[in-house]
Symmetry: C2
Subunit: 132 residues, 2 copies
Amino acid sequence: MPKRTRQKEAILRVLKSTTSHPTADWIYSDVRKEIPNISLGTVYRNLKLLWQSGEISEMDFSGTFSRFDGNPDNHYHFRCERCGRVFDVDEPVNKETDDRVAQKTGFKIFYHRLEFRGLCRECQESREVRTK
Amino acid sequence: MPKRTRQKEAILRVLKSTTSHPTADWIYSDVRKEIPNISLGTVYRNLKLLWQSGEISEMDFSGTFSRFDGNPDNHYHFRCERCGRVFDVDEPVNKETDDRVAQKTGFKIFYHRLEFRGLCRECQESREVRTK
DNA sequence: CATTTATTAGTAATAGTTATCGTTACTTGT
DNA sequence: ACAAGTAACGATAACTATTACTAATAAATG
């Protein structure tokens, strides 16, 4: 059973108080204002714990390494959360949404990335807790 | 002016001959069957060159570090390709597409990630070549 | 064929993240 | 309230993906 600690609460509070999608390092230096001797490892550990319990979400999916695609045209992907494999999804790219969002926000939008997440056919039998 | 080298051609050939979205390391070991003493740095350098010339695309966007989001509910993001900042996008999440793709593919789909890419308002003035 | 210069192999360095480990402090049961 | 059990801590080392550096090599050009 997880424990509620000062460090975890501070990290969660920092994360809930901003919309800037901070990096682990940014969170680290912000929390240090309150807990000056907190360790960077503690920040990473708690971010993972908070993510596992569903209290936060992580972007820049799938961690450490890049994957490359011989097809340079914009298309969509499916990623299996269990085995990590990536598949192409044959679904037409919807450009109208780009225009509508650009209109609403004032951003100039070149394209978008869409990735579906779930379990591939092979992995659907034996579901497990998500680990990373 | 870029040169066509045996290494670059081999890397491109490997990448065009698979749909498995390989990692740099996987590409490295596959190309080594043909050029045993190729360097891993060469693979990375050429992947970047091929990406810059638009011949391939890269996934797992934006490189090295993760960003975290205090809001665990599924929502969309916009990422500025110049300054790297990430903004929330207030757009309803479309669950029907998940169902349609699941039907077509046999995957079990939990959710999807959608990220728009372009230039934020501040960066729209001085556009530049994309560097990474 | 000689010159120019991008690219190479090899290796060292960097950066983000994770693992380890002895110590601390939250939680639970008595 | 106190003791026991154990999750979490801080500090640091290790790991992994990627990039930078350098002298040597090999495409391209005229």
